[in-house]
Amino acid sequence: MSNGTLIVLMAVLFLFFGYMGVPVAFALIASVLLITAFTPVSLASMIAQLFNGVDVEALMAIPFFLLVGDLMTSANVTVRMITLSQTLVGHFRGGLAQVVTIFSMFFAGISGSSAADVAVLTRTLAPEMSREGYDRAFTAALIASASTMANLIPPSIMAVVYGATGNVSIGGLFLAGVAPGVVVGIGLMIYSHFFGPVGFKRKRATFAEFTTATKQAAVPLMIPIIIMGGILTGQFTPTEAGVVAVAYIVLVAIPLLNRRHLRNLPRDMAFTGLLYSIPLITIGAASVFGWMLAYLRGPAMVSEWISTAAGGDPFRIMLLLTFLFVIVGDFIDAVPAIIIFMPIIIELTKNADINPVHMGAVIITTLAFGLITPPYGLALLMASKFVGIKFSKAMLASLPIYVVFFIAIAFTIFFPDIVLWLPKTFLPQSVGCFPNPNGTGYICP
C-alpha cells in the first residue's frame, strides 16, 4: 500500500474508533498499531514512543495550570473576582453578559483551562442570568465563547503543548496570545452590548464599592502577576511559575480566604492528579500518531500541497492552515491536533519564513475557536449541558459570535507586529531577536 493510502486509512480508523466511543488516546494508538503492521516499524518502538511523547519537561507545566484553576474553583475564591467584574461593567447594557466576559479575562490569567472557566461561570453567573431573563441558549453560547480566552490569555495549556512539541518559546507564545485574547474579549463585549439581551439596569458601582471589591479580589489577582512576572523576569520557567502559583494558593490564598477548605486539599490533589493524566496520555498517543504520520511522509505531502496552493506567500499559507485547523478543530481536540499536525506546521513555518511564535498564535486562536464549533465544540457542549439547554439551540445562538472569532483570527494573521509586540518587548529572544553587539537593545529580523 502507498504511504498516502496508509495515512488515509489511519485517519479513517482513528475517526471510526473515536466516534464509536473508544477513548481518544486508545483510538489513536489502535489506529497506529494497525497501520504499523503494514510497515517495517516495530510495534515495541511505537509503544516506547507513547512514553517518549510525555517525557518532555515543559509538559510538567500542564498539571500546575490545571491545579491552579481547580484549587481556585473548589475553594470558591473565584466569587471575589466575579464581584470585582460586576463593579467594573455590571452597569452596562446587558450587564451580566459583560461580567461573564470580563471575569473570563481575569480567570484566563489564572487558569489555562476552558473547562474550569465554563464550570465556574455556569455554576455562578448562569442561574443569575436566567433570573434576569437572559435566553439560556445565549447564556451557554456566551459562556462557551468567553471560556476560549483561557487558551489565549496566559497561562495557556495549548501554548505549553505547542511550545513543548514545536520547540517554540512558551513564554513568547504566552505573550503573543494576549492580543488575540483581548480582541476576542472586546468583540464579545461589543456583541453583547449591541446584540445581546438587555438584562436588568444596574446602578454604576461607587468608587468605594470598586475599591472594596478590588481589595477582596487582590489575593487571587496576584496569581497572573506571579506567573507572568516570574517568566518575564527570567526567574522561572513556565513549569516553575505554575508550581509557585500553586504554592501561593495553598499557602496564602486558601488560608486567607477559605481556611476550612484546607482539609479538602488531599482530595483536590488526588482529583487533579487524575485530571492531568487525561490530556497527557492523549499527548503521548498523539505523538505516536504524529510519529507514524511523519514516517509515512504525511507532513511533507500536506505542506507541499499547501505551499503550492499558496505560492509561498506567508499570509496565504496561514490562511490555508487556518482553514485546515478550523476543520480539524471541528472533529478532534486541540491538544492531539497540535501534536499530530506539528510536523506540517514546522515545515510550513520554515519554508515560508514565518515567525514560529506568530504561527503559534494563529494556530492556537484557530483551535480556541474550535471549542465552540460543532460537532466537537467541547466548551459549548459543556456549557449547554450545565446551563440545561439543547446543544443545537446553544449552537444556533453561538453562530453570530463566530464573527468575533473570524475577526480575531484575521487580526492575528494580518497584524503580526501587534501580536508580536509584547513578546518583542518583554522576551525579545523568544521571537528570534538577538542582542545588539553594541550592547544596546536587540536586533529583530
Binding site: G18, M20, I47, F51, S114, F331, Y376, L381, K385
Partner: protein, 180 residues
Amino acid sequence: MRFDGLVSQEQRHLKWRFLDPLERLLMVLCGIAITTFSVLVVCDIVTRAIGHPWLWLQETTMDFFLYGIFVGVAACTRRNDHLYLAVLAESMTGNRRLFFELFNRFVVLCVAACMIYFGYLNVLDGFKSLRMPSMTPLAYLYIAIPICGALIALFTIEQMVNGWRNGFPDIPVDERRKSL
C-alpha cells in the same frame, strides 16, 4: 485529611466491589504523584536560588510526573473518565448497543495487551540504557507501561463481563466528555 468519595459511584453495575480498594489506591497514588513532584519542583527552585542545586531533583520530579500519568490513566479507565470524541454507541439500543459497547472495550483491551507485551519488551531493552545523573536503568521507568496496561486490561474486562451480564447504562453523552 479527607479521602472520602475517591471511588466513583457512576456506572456502579459495571464494577466489582472488590476492585474498589484498587481504584482508591490509584487515586491516592495520583495525589501522591502530583504532590511529590510539586514539592520537588519547589525544592529545585529553592536549591538553585541558594546556589546549591540538587542535580537528582529534576530526574526524580520527571519520574513522579511520568508515573502519575500512567497511574492516572489506569484510574481513568475504571472511572470511565477518559477524553472522548463521541459515544455513538450510546445512542443505540438492544443487541446493537451491546455489540458496539463490547467492541469499543475490545479495542481498548487490544491496546492494553500491546502495552503489556511490547511494554515488557521495552523494559527488557531499558536495562541497557541509564538515566542521568542517578545511573538507574531506564527500565524502572518503562515498567510503568506494562503495569498500566495490565490495570487497564483488568478494568476493561471488569466492564465487559458486568456489561454483558447487566447491560450498559444510558448515561448522557456529554457527561463523559472531558477536555482542557
